[in-house]
């Protein structure tokens, strides 16, 4: 088990390379856009908009969400797993990575 360090502002995972302000801003911006798209689909459903148009929107949301997920995964590998490898926690960190990848592959 990888130890979790206690920080004043909450728990930060020992293998975590904290996100910079810029990183947080960029990811949150994309998630806010996705949130807006999901709200837009709710309105389309309520307005009895055509199913096909709604499905096109859902497909766009999935693509956007996939992209955010893939970016987070890559950033995690390049920063956090790489750090774990350098600090001797590589194998544990790799197992975690594989577990989450298997979940996406389902």
């Amino acid at each position: 088990m990888i130890p979790v360090t206690q920080y004043e502002d909450g728990n930060i995972h020992a293998n975590m390379v904290p996100r910079t302000e810029e990183e947080i801003e960029s990811i949150v911006k994309r998630l806010k856009r996705i949130e807006g798209q999901v709200r837009g689909v709710q309105k389309m459903v309520e307005d009895n908009r055509y199913c096909i148009d709604i499905l096109v929107q859902i497909s766009a949301i999935q693509a956007a969400l996939n992209k955010v997920g893939l970016n987070l995964l890559e950033r995690h590998a390049n920063h956090c797993v790489a750090k774990a490898i350098r600090e001797g926690n590589g194998e544990e960190s790799l197992r975690e990575l594989m577990d989450v990848i298997k979940q996406f592959a389902k």
Copy 2:
């Protein structure tokens, strides 16, 4: 081209079998939950929560969104495309269906 009937409350597609109140409520409820999950991920990103935990959440959102999409697709086929077939617009409606399926398959 399938004609679009003008309704007071907006455009309703000629092939559309309007959603019932129950259908709308059930879909919107699920979309609101998805919206809440997306907001939850934003908070996790801002709080520098561990990437793996965020990725697990994103994978759950994708599964939920997939399910809503598949349900809408099935309902569209069973109701709207079936109606179009009975009313002589089946081939046009089928083409639309295949186009949106190809978009999901990308």
Copy 3:
């Protein structure tokens, strides 16, 4: 249930628009290439070739197989389902189509 017509050369589904010689040739050619790729991967496994190189090959096979599947699906929709719609078997044919699409979506 859609009736199945008995032909001398075997069963041909009543809704089936038979493939032309050119269509058969083109699909079989692609399947033979896929078969060769699968055999190639067997050899790579036996030769203890590097896992990453094997995985790249498997990913290429999946892409090729996806493409063949999508082509067959589209051809089926444009020819067989369209024919079923014109001949009054549209709804049954649509249900079959949706069932197979759900299987791919799993």
Copy 4:
């Protein structure tokens, strides 16, 4: 760049933990079954068998291929990447792993 060791029986990647006889046998057996399924689909196409039945077969092949791929990926992570981490080549090996995962995610 990870060095490639020259073996009498061909190149074996330096990070590669060679497959055992049992492993090779088990993977090849599954690939032979997949090869047979692909040949079966060729015959179905030539015999003008119903598109839906062919698509069900293709979907089964994709599932089988996915399973082999995921097994190879896991085995690679657990054996070869883990070895690379212990021997100081972890970061390079991790980059390779992520590259192939991104290819599957396409």
